[in-house]
């Protein structure tokens, strides 16, 4: 690592410990992160906005708290990057779209308040596929993010900026959002830990909606323990989100090391049929690791899960078509004038949305239309029930399930850009979790031709505890070379 970074500890928990004890100042930590961002951002394009001044001011506030003997929070001084679809008061929030150009949210998302209250220092907003629609971050209106492991490849998506920022060691923590795999898939492709919580565990208030019944905010970190620490900070009931679960959440961090002895682990065989050999090998390897640690490992077939993708591409666009209606040029963001309000709406949306967003709005509008609703949206909702039931049956026999996160390692930029269906298949193994509202985490496990391969651990609703214990065991058995932070190979690539 470069100069400044050498003086500060790596990792979120180590950083927080050092800042809390006064060993290192938060200011110094933030300076180091900002310096590293300055060094690599040109080549990677992880960020849409870097909030250097605000970060240093926030770090100084943490240092002041430490100096005054006040509790600076469990994430004291830890730099964190926020996906640019999380609202930040007074800081541009674009959702990767031209249509929100110039809009400054007047409020902070609940998760932003949570991480700031925990002492974390927000350093910027990370790049994403426009409105989180995509699996490569190529759909950003502001250009693609590059994978730190290979600048010619995508970081995955839609939370590609957050995944790449953690993988490149620009920040120890980041937040993303996961509607069909948008945290886990880029985590897998970038060699970091990425987790989607149980639907309703983390408040969606302030997350710019893509598909409301599927969206969840989730943590990125280099290690399972760091990801768990961030989850513990953002989880919990929020009265501002009606779908927020009103249950007492038991923090996962204290029991990460409890092991998997006697845990029943199912390997989803349906996910192994079409995944690339390296991804299948990673799953087998992780299953062996769990077995050796005392888990009871068996294969399980859940055929209903393979119906998930097609149901998802009806439900998610349907909700998106409604959620994105408000970008009409009337109140905020882009406006392209026209002779009357209808034409102004149309021109604004034509100019402001990119092709993938338009494709999904049209798809969603169509499936909700009178006469088609039942055949498409209604049917998709029934399939969704089948997926949930398939999981439900499996979880009567297993505590957690494992499978590949992504069918492939990181692919080359442009490889799937003109083939939406091929791109959609990237999320084949992550989507069923969202449809069921369950948690899942991707853990880096192995390398395939120099690129990281993640393994997914899935659990039933509110099964985060067992899931994180299993993930901890998988991580310990993984190839340490397969995970970030790494020295990006992209440093000298011009944007």
């Amino acid at each position: 690592m470069s100069g400044a970074a050498r003086d500060v500890p790596a990792g979120a928990l180590a950083t927080a410990r050092a800042v809390r004890s006064g060993e290192v100042r938060a200011h110094q930590v933030s300076e180091a992160a900002l310096a590293r961002i300055a060094e690599f951002e040109g080549g990677l394009h992880c960020f849409n906005t870097v909030t250097a001044d605000a970060a240093l001011a926030a770090a100084d506030a943490v240092d002041a708290a430490v100096a005054a003997g006040r509790d600076p929070g469990p994430l004291a001084g830890v730099p964190i990057a926020l996906k640019d679809n999380l609202c930040t008061r007074g800081v541009a929030t674009t959702a990767g779209s031209r249509i929100l150009e110039g809009w400054l949210p007047p409020y902070d998302a609940t998760v932003v308040r949570s991480v700031v209250a925990a002492g974390a220092v927000v350093v910027g907003k990370t790049n994403l596929d426009e409105f989180a629609m995509g699996s490569s971050t190529e759909n950003s209106a502001f250009g693609p993010t590059r994978n730190p492991w290979d600048p010619g490849r995508v970081p995955g998506g839609s939370s590609g900026g957050s995944a790449a920022a953690v993988a490149a060691g620009l920040v120890p923590l980041a937040l993303g959002s996961d509607t069909g795999g948008s945290v886990r898939q880029p985590a897998s492709l970038c060699g970091v830990v990425g987790m989607k919580p149980t639907y309703g565990l983390v408040s969606r208030y302030g997350l710019i909606a893509f598909a409301s019944s599927l969206d969840q905010i989730g943590p990125f970190a280099a290690t399972v323990a760091d990801a768990a620490a961030l989850l513990d900070v953002i989880a919990g009931h929020d009265p501002a989100d009606s779908t927020s679960l009103a249950v007492g959440f038991e923090p996962v961090s204290p029991r990460l090391d409890d092991g998997v002895a006697g845990m029943r682990v199912g390997v989803i065989s349906d996910f192994l049929a079409d995944a690339s050999p390296s991804c299948v090998a990673a799953v087998r390897g992780a299953a062996d690791v769990l077995g050796r640690a005392g888990a009871v490992v068996e294969e399980v077939a859940i055929p209903a899960l393979m119906l998930g993708l097609s149901a998802y591409y009806l439900v998610a666009p349907a909700e998106a078509s409604s959620n994105l209606a408000r970008y009409d040029g009337v109140r905020y963001g882009l406006r392209v004038d026209g002779p009357d309000v209808t034409q102004m709406n149309g021109r604004t949306r034509s100019a402001g949305f990119g092709p993938e967003v338009k494709r999904r709005i049209m798809l969603g509008t169509y499936v909700l239309s009178a006469g088609y609703y039942d055949a498409y949206y209604g049917q998709a909702q029934r399939v969704r029930t089948l997926v949930a039931r398939g999981f439900g049956d499996a979880y009567e026999r297993f505590d957690v399930l494992v499978g590949p996160t992504s069918p492939t390692v990181a692919f080359e930029i442009g490889a799937k850009a003109t083939d939406p269906l091929a791109m959609y298949l990237s999320d084949l193994y992550t989507i069923p979790t969202n449809l069921a509202g369950h948690p899942a985490v991707s853990v880096p496990f192995s390398l395939s031709e120099g690129l990281p391969v993640g393994v997914q651990v899935l659990a039933p609703a509110l099964g985060e505890g067992a899931m994180f214990r299993a993930a901890t065991v998988v991580e310990r058995g993984a190839d340490p070379q397969a995970r970030g932070p790494i020295e990006p190979r992209a440093a000298k690539v011009a944007r």
Binding site: P106, G206, A240, S321, R326, Y332
Partner: protein, 483 residues
Amino acid sequence: MTADSSPGAGWEIVVGLEVHCELSTATKLFCSCPNAFGAEPNTNVCPVCLGLPGSLPVLNARAVEFAIAIGSALGSSVEASVFHRKNYFYPDMPKDYQISQYDAPINVGGRVELADGSVVGIVRAHIEEDTGKTTHVGGGGRIHDADYSLVDYNRAGVPLVEIVSEPDIRSAEQARSYVNELRAILVATGASDGRMEEGSLRVDANISVRRAGDAEYGTRCEVKNLNSLRSLGRAVDYEAARQIAVLESGGRVVQETRHWNEDEGLTSPLRSKEEAYDYRYFTEPDLVPLAPPAAEIAAVAAGLGPLPAARRHRVADLVAADGSPAPVDQLTTVVGLGLDDLVRGAADHGADPRLALARAANEAANRPDDARALSPVAFAALVKLESAGKLSATQSKTVLAAMLEGGGEPAEIAARLGFETLGDAATEAAIDAVLAAHPVEWARYEQGDAKIAQFLLGEVMRATRGRANGKAVAASLEARRRN
């Protein structure tokens, strides 16, 4: 309609009404912004009711209570319900969809009994959010030819209950009576202030006509922009006449939405069935299903006071004890203004219920706030003075006005004003003088012209400045004629 030769003879008007009622909650339906009329534009707004990216709705529990109260008052079945999104683009709708209820509304079924005893069935009464308010500047005030438009989002997100009636209404008069009754019910539940002029109650009318005796309904048109009971009545009559004229000239009524133009007194097409929006309803994923516990529903229903129909019946029963029915319009007025307790209280204290009802409906109703504060004992005392002939009707009204103005005992006020009914001798003297001054009219009266009696009575009252007892004067005139 009656089967005479007037235009529309042989046709029946069929009307169903959709009434949007703004709920009297302190805050909006999905956020904590004030629900207040008349504030500076775009001051009662927040990220939620402006539909800013990332904001989410949280259902107002008080609005749900009001909806349950309305359902209970209408005799609806209060059921587990679901919110839906109604999707269409309009600049006054911050999210370009409206959160409403679709196939699973909170209140299903019900009925409204009108003052004349007729009954209008209720299909449903569901919860939804209001839109903002657009003002189109220039180009005739319609959106597509305006120079520019201004939007005020203060109203966006105000809680509404939409009450949909069955097509049970058969005339403009009945339509007005239904809305009046509904308004009284809504005010009685506390759910609404019932102010049509502030838009608290807004009415859309589905109007069709059919040949008298036909079993099938005709093709209907939905008429919007009915801002008063007067507009409603005029629009029903106009639209029915228009449809009858179309049908009688061999044409077909086209199903469409029409706009009522109050100034011109006519409806004009807004959009046809083909142009109708496809609202693409689907379950609102940002809200959870609403399933009020049975105990909550029961508690709200138990907390409802007596409703207008029941209150009318109670007063009507008191009045009708004298053998003839109570005037419906007076009953409606006193119950509508909440003066029925005053009438019943006066009756409890010995006042004649019929006279108490008349004074409450005709005089006290001019100052309803003061009248509701009036002591039933004092009001009873006034009515009794008048019944006993100690105050003339004119004097009684003047004393009542003074009581409403500043309170006080009616006997004292009457004494202060010098109101004592003239003695018999003075009354007879006054009559003598009036008859002497109007010999021609007296002659006509003597020959049996009953109408002239009112003139003579008026002249006597005028001459005595209202102090004569009208009944006694009338009796004296009659007695003189017979002699």
